[in-house]
Amino acid sequence: MSVPRYWREIPRRTRLETVKCSECGTVAYPPRARCGKCGSSNFENYRLPEKGRLVTFTIVRNPPKGFEKMPPYIIGVVRLEDGTIITSQLTDVEPEDVSVGMEVEAAFRKVVEDGDSGIIQYAIKFRPVVK
């Protein structure tokens, strides 16, 4: 992945910064040019909550190119505390310990490395909340 392409998405993928419609309050993640609900193009900055619950997940055993060294890894869909839904990896948990509905929180982690000399890509993943 090119450096500018990776760099552009850093606010969203590492800090959960996105936008919220100024007219109807709908949160867009990732950001949109126009609100899918009301058609407004006025947005304000908005930071997503870091906690949520796991809606569904899968364990990837047949990975796409670039992720060959990673499986089995877990992809999940998380409903954050404000209702926004987001896709990412789960981390700090074994596949057999994952369950739908479990509480998770954001954790800054490495996603993948672009070979020996490319960039190392980081993002927010989600880990179980330890009580």
Binding site: E9, R12, R13, Y29, P30, G36, V55, T56, F57, T58, I59, V60, R61, N62, P63, P64, K65, G66, F67, E68, M70, Y73, I75, G76, V77, I85, I86, T87, S88, Q89, P95, V100, V111, V112, Q121, A123, K125
Partner: protein
């Protein structure tokens, strides 16, 4: 707007065609369609394809195929809507004829997946999803659908075996299709015991990877008799979209693009789901087939299994679903799949579907999805 007819079709068997290139595959399908229709001059070629730039290092497919088929200097271009490319190309071709812009248009789709090496094919197919917010995290096309399947099973309490039975039905149908990639019957255990790809999806929940091409020739309905005795009318057609990433959807239990496209196509054709005799639906994975049955209005949500086991989706039931074997058994040459579906319905409605024939089929529906429901193209055909 002019009424539009399909006057001829051609298909290759879906297979791993190691000896044939992208253009040779489409050439074979195109020539077959031309031979059926007295080889009319083609004013425009609109072809669906998804992966050629990744796997065959080839863009500009329109010119490539127009050149190969001797259509130069006439118009030609490619339409890309991931696995929905064939259906999208058909919609563009329909619009081109209906508007009066062109009289005789060839459309269809072609895909050459076996030119991909290693993880390239998985990566290329995955590009139907959101590159920055899904693929970035290592999601594949299978994994997104696997998450939908798990959610569906949890929500309705539908057991995993019910999905295996859908695959069994598709393979029973496909065993009668001479163009199918996997023309053999399977058992429920075949699905349950096959390799886990992305939980809970196993290998036999998935459509196979294969190559293929299908071509269709369209013209104004009033001219159809000039070219062929066998033609069908395009009675309703629509395309619709949903968010590119699945997490932004209002629900994971329905593809809104299918609901919207079907609703518009039904209204245009002045029919309801109950009027459809035969449907070719988009079952990339067993879960995709099940959601499609529901989204098209063929069964109540969460209740497909009992209906299916009672024969509701076979000839004589509610609607004959995928007599071709669907993506599961006929195969899924991605950008060509939508064109195969319509070509198969053409055979059904003209009474030439052989062992697959649904008795007295007069209204057919094709539903072709791009991505994990981010776009859908629905076409309703009527016997004339």
């Amino acid at each position: 707007m002019r009424k539009v007819a399909i006057i001829g079709t051609g298909m290759t068997k879906v297979d791993k065609h190691w000896r044939k290139s992208l253009k040779e595959l489409f050439g074979e399908a195109g020539i077959a369609a031309l031979n059926q229709t007295g080889s009319p001059a083609i004013d425009c070629l609109i072809v669906g394809n998804m992966c050629a730039s990744d796997l065959s290092d080839q863009n500009n497919i329109g010119a490539l195929l127009a050149d190969y088929l001797g259509f130069v200097p006439n118009t030609a271009y490619r339409v890309e809507a991931a696995c929905g490319s064939g259906g999208a190309a058909f919609l563009a071709a329909y619009s081109a004829v209906a508007s009066g812009m062109y009289d005789v248009v060839m459309t269809g789709g072609v895909e050459k997946l076996t030119d991909g090496v290693g993880g390239n094919t998985t990566l290329s197919l995955g590009k139907a999803a959101d590159a920055e917010y899904e693929l970035f995290y290592g999601s594949s096309f299978v994994s997104l659908n696997a998450m939908i399947m798990r959610y569906y099973m949890d929500h309705y309490g539908v057991p995993r075996e019910a999905f295996a039975d859908f695959a069994v039905l598709m393979h029973r149908n496909g065993s009668r299709n001479p163009f199918a990639q996997l023309p053999f019957e399977i058992k429920r255990e075949t699905v349950l015991n096959s390799d886990m790809i992305s939980d809970p999806i196993t290998l036999f929940d998935c459509a196979p990877v294969g190559d293929g091409a299908a071509a269709l020739i369209l013209c104004p309905l009033e001219d159809a008799k000039k070219y062929s005795d066998d033609f069908v009318e395009v009675a309703g057609i629509s395309g619709a979209t949903d968010t590119i990433n699945i997490a932004s959807r209002e629900s994971l239990l329905s593809f809104r693009s299918t609901v919207t496209a079907a609703d518009r196509a039904y209204r245009m054709a002045h029919i309801s789901p109950a009027d459809i005799d035969v449907a070719e639906i988009h079952d990339t994975f067993t879960i995709t087939g099940v959601l499609s049955l529901e989204d098209l209005g063929f069964c109540e949500r969460g209740k497909f299994h009992k209906m299916m086991m009672n024969g509701a989706f076979e000839p004589g039931g509610v609607v004959a679903v995928n007599p071709s074997g669907g993506l599961k058994s006929r195969g899924h040459p991605v950008g060509a799949t939508g064109a195969y579906q319509i070509a198969e319905l053409f055979l059904q409605l003209t009474g030439r579907a052989g062992k697959m024939q649904v008795p007295d089929a007069s209204i057919g529906l094709a539903q072709n999805i791009g991505g994990s429901g981010s776009s859908t193209y629905v076409t309703v055909l009527r016997r004339v």
